[in-house]
Symmetry: C2
Subunit: 162 residues, 2 copies
Amino acid sequence: MKGLVLGVDPGSLNTGFGVIRAEADRLTHLAHGRIAVSSRLPLELRLCQIYDGLRELIREHQPQTLALEDIFLANNVKSAFALGQVRGVVLLAAAQASLPVHLYAPLVVKKAVVGYGGASKAQVKLMVEQLLGLKVNNNHAADALAVGVCHLFHSRTLSFYS
Amino acid sequence: MKGLVLGVDPGSLNTGFGVIRAEADRLTHLAHGRIAVSSRLPLELRLCQIYDGLRELIREHQPQTLALEDIFLANNVKSAFALGQVRGVVLLAAAQASLPVHLYAPLVVKKAVVGYGGASKAQVKLMVEQLLGLKVNNNHAADALAVGVCHLFHSRTLSFYS
């Protein structure tokens, strides 16, 4: 298991992030948090702040990969559209930094982190905290760390065959 | 009626654009076309090309405003999500260039251009061609020009009261 991943959980108001390094059998947490934007700002300025925040994280931590959840279970067309806008900006920041993007279905993330695809959000958070040896106060950051952990576990699995 | 607008019709594979100048009672077409991206490219690279294309258009034409259709009548959550990603990148490019973004509902665009909210796409295209004195071979570009024309007509209306 090897690599440095930036996990991101895009959201219209809170975009969670988590930076994790994997070496041998060890996961090291480097940073996590959320890029919070005000709902009172025009949408385009919110997107700007999210983009700038991600660029800054990429510059600071120089990750090798950006990991995201693949399918967003939007309640409706409007929220899918809103979330798509944020995800577009996240993908752009990754591409501009030549970061490969890896997408994982929510079920795959849960399975990788908890070992069970039907795990609850609380179980995922608890397991992320145990794996990384820290307390995460924010759900967006926990989701971002979870997809990062998932990516590192999958890279490990893949490397068995390489 | 006064101003220089960049109308944009975002799309996953074809993003239409139209640049129109208004002076006194005259509309002048400066450019139109589409930013076409290959479906074989990874999504993040497609977003990069759309973003770069828009930045180039903004640099070249120095518009004062970016105009977009407000509500996307997505068939489903998946297409809303895909389109949202492109729109996020369009809005980012506008915000980074300090371009105000104006959104118009499809019905408002049709009403402004054709005079009738229930107009067909073909009618909108025909009217755009007549107003600007040109032939538009591409539907995405026609839609982008239409929202640009709509914006200029609305600025005119507003200026009566200012």
